[in-house]
Amino acid sequence: MNSEVMFYLLAGMILVFSVLTVTSRKILRAAVYLLFVLISTAAIYFMLEYTFLAAVQLTVYAGGIVVLIIFSVLLTSHISEKAIMADRKQSLLSALAVGAGALLTLLTILKFTFVPSALPAQTSTVTDVGNALISYERDGFALPFEVISILLLAALIGAIIVARKEKDNAIIK
């Protein structure tokens, strides 16, 4: 009962703050609303007892990505600047398309009956997840883990190269 109330509270918070993120005209406020959405999602992960995932959500999303977004907002626009929205016709058309897509998805999914697993619930501590990430046996994820770390490194170096000022080269010469 208690966790039911909690879930619907969190779901309501997620929906309200995501609508505010999308519709807010001030871009910095939208970033803060996004932060609330991400924290509420982390709370739902905690309710599902996925503590590792919740911790990663808090550190990577709420701690890293939102700060990065706020930095680039401050670099690219004035705080008091009002955002321009699309014109009426375009937003109406997109609302229509999105609504139709959501309706179709819900109709298809809710008709399907999912069978819950008969297995007993497996508790997964942070240790289990860590072992799974570095194990190279069955149910291990060592290779994807290495590949994704190379991907992250490449993306970060690429980001630095893209955002760097070109003029530095000329000065060195």
Partner: protein, 109 residues
């Protein structure tokens, strides 16, 4: 073995599905009608978040903790995407003095 006390038994799976579809639709709306490129990136984050939520719910429903690892990988890919996207935004601001997405019209087919 510890009995499953988590939310997935009390709350029906359909609630998770509906929450996730709603969140995805809101994010997609934002991608379609916001014109500031940073706002579009934030709406992409919302869509990522809804996919992660659904994956987690199903992982808990099937009591298969491997879903956690997949969500972890998705989060890392999202972090890489945001880093590259924001550096492109900074670059665009430097080159065309604006973050309006309509200025990139010529990239459209």
């Amino acid at each position: 073995m510890k009995e499953i006390s988590s939310a997935i038994q009390i709350i029906p799976l359909d609630s998770y599905i509906m929450l996730s579809v709603a969140l995805f639709s809101i994010g997609l709306m934002g991608v379609l009608f916001r014109r500031n490129i940073i706002a579009v990136l934030m709406c992409l984050e919302l869509m990522f978040n809804s996919a992660n939520l659904l994956l987690t719910a199903f992982s808990s429903y099937h009591s298969d903790p491997a879903g956690q690892v997949f969500v972890f990988f998705i989060m890392i890919v999202a972090a890489a995407e945001v880093a590259v996207g924001l550096s492109i935004v900074v670059m665009m601001k430097r080159n065309v003095e604006s973050v309006d997405i309509n200025l990139l019209n010529r990239l459209k087919w």
